[in-house]
Amino acid sequence: MSQEAILFKGIDEPGLNTLEVYKRRGGYGDVFRKALSTPRDALVTELVESGLRGRGGAGFSMGKKASFMPKGAMDKYLVCNADESEPGTFKDRELMTKSPHMLIEGMIIGAYAAGATRSFIYIRGEYAQQADILDAAVAEAYADGLLGKHILGSDHSLEMLVHRGAGAYICGEETGLLDSLEGKRGNPRLKPPFPANQGLYQGPTLINNVETLATIPHILGMGAAEYAKIGVENSTGTKLISVSGHVKRPGNYEIELGMPVREILYDLCGGIEGDREVKFYFPGGSSSPVLTGDDLDLPYDFDSMAKAGSMLGSGAIIVVDDQTSVVDVCLKLAQFYKHESCGKCTPCREGTQWTVKMLERIIAGTATPMDLDIMASVQTQIIGNCLCVLGDAMAMPVGSMIEKFRPEFEAYIEEARARSERELIASLEEPGEVPLVGSLV
């Protein structure tokens, strides 16, 4: 890779999670001091110009999101979304484990730009080890005057708290996260009002992903114009990607946006397990429509993925090899969303349930090819009809699997039906008992 690592540079240095080592490597240094004395608008403009797009999944311009925060004196909040529960994603975990101060520094600058005086890190409850590391880092920052009132003698004050969730995928959705942070069930809210106007405790709230916030100090360090040169148009910078599934070296990699997928899978990850072929892959977490082995030469960036009918999402590539049945993967996926649907909106609650039921029917051998059409139509009825995108997150990949692997689904249905018929006949071998044709279906 010609572009050297930014976020992952020296990430494995022992003790990087302590303030001492982080500062020795230049953390909370001149860039940090300068940022806190720059006018807020100039800082937001710089973030817009860097072209940094949200790294959590939606890919919205980080600077623009910050610019939506209203001006004036009121309680404003910054919330870091560390709920990372999109299947296949594990990049934020790495950052928080190894370099928690990078996130805290980014949050202090981000909060300053947004005019927020209180901040929360909403971390998923399963990441207990990471939450402990963050707790320790926040305490260190408080003790050093980097958090609290008048940070380093500036006008900026910021309180920070690590809040642990308790296991719910929906709390990664920003409004569900806010409800959960307020101590309620994590049900998503109706939008608008958007969190920038009415978020946590009804106050204006800026919500950003861990990786997005951690990138801020680096952007200011090299300058927005320099940062925007990395990557490709509309997808600037480097991105942490999590590759998992049937690859030889699953793990986190930092790439320059625009790197071809083939290079990621074969050079970085060492190829496919057992040197088999890629059947399909999820380019951006399990919520993204699947791409097939024919799409390996696409450049990995926001626009190319969108053009191919999928999305970059959280940057989690899940690779499935040609030995795996698409129906099995589809069922796993649907079961996950069925379990995680909060049940507030009917299309999502019922749609996820019925998709699972129909897939189970296919596997049990009691489905007809017509079920495929019904299943596909269920997916289109979910999309865009709910408060949040959890339902869409199942409907899009399931819909894409049916579309791209329809012959395999149909063959599976026929095979399973033939199998269940054979089993039924075998179970009726008592002499004199003749199975009715109708009962075989």
Binding site: P87, R93, T97, L161, S244, R249
Partner: protein
């Protein structure tokens, strides 16, 4: 319920005695009926008509362990709105009671001044809050896509077999735990380990029972982030 309920008329057979003819009352007591004479609640009815909704417990008759009270109050003080502490408070109570038992919920309700119903609604929403009795060692085996592609379902079965009948264990298949790089993996009392081979399961379970560190070589916290072999050719 008023006197002479069906429960009092239960004979030695375990079944209600008396005339069971359709349309007649069992025994002499009043059977609570919902609107329209139904015995099952509708959408708008409370589940149990014979009970008043639980109110915020009176501190005088709801003893709370001193440490738990201090822990909950510490969390409440951290937020602009004390209600935000409901998840950390329930987690703290779960640590004491192993699961969110009615007593645990009542104690949190008493300290936080919320109704038990509100807290029960929160507890049932989140996967890590247990609403039925479980063992104290939590073993979550990730069975989501990435892990199941690498044999997580067999791993879960193997762990379940190994711990079968042991009331100390709470073994569950869990949604993506965010560690697909070490698939198939498990979270053992909050410690991530993986990739777990099937023949390592007996060791793993023995280590949990003995209370020692689980598979120290395979803990995620010791894993390097950057793979030196991962070099791009371009």
């Amino acid at each position: 319920m008023s006197e002479g309920t069906a429960a009092e008329n239960v004979g030695t057979t375990g079944l209600p005695e008396g005339d069971l003819t359709l349309g007649q009352h069992v025994g002499s007591g009043e059977i609570p009926r919902y609107e329209g004479g139904s015995r099952t609640p509708g959408w708008d009815d409370p589940v149990d008509l014979t009970k008043d909704p639980a109110v915020i417990p009176d501190p005088a008759d709801c003893p709370v362990p001193e440490e738990l009270r201090a822990e909950i109050e510490r969390h409440m003080a951290l937020y602009p709105d004390a209600r935000s502490a409901s998840i950390p408070a329930l987690m703290a109570a779960q640590k004491v009671h192993v699961w969110c038992s009615p007593t645990a919920i009542e104690q949190v309700a008493c300290v936080m001044r919320l109704t038990p119903g509100y807290l029960a609604a929160v507890a049932t929403f989140y996967d890590m809050l247990e609403t039925s009795p479980v063992g104290r060692h939590r073993v979550y085996v990730c069975t989501n896509i990435s892990c199941s592609l690498r044999g997580a379902d067999e791993l879960l079965l193997r762990v379940q077999e190994e711990t079968a009948g042991d009331p100390d264990f709470n073994v569950r298949g869990f949604e993506c735990l965010g560690a697909c790089d070490i698939a198939p993996m498990a979270s053992v009392d909050d410690v991530y380990v993986g990739p777990v081979e099937l023949d390592e399961v007996p060791d793993l379970v023995a280590q949990i029972r003995a209370g020692t560190e689980v598979l120290p070589e395979k803990q995620i916290i010791r894993r390097k982030s950057v793979d030196p072999n991962a070099v791009s050719t371009s």
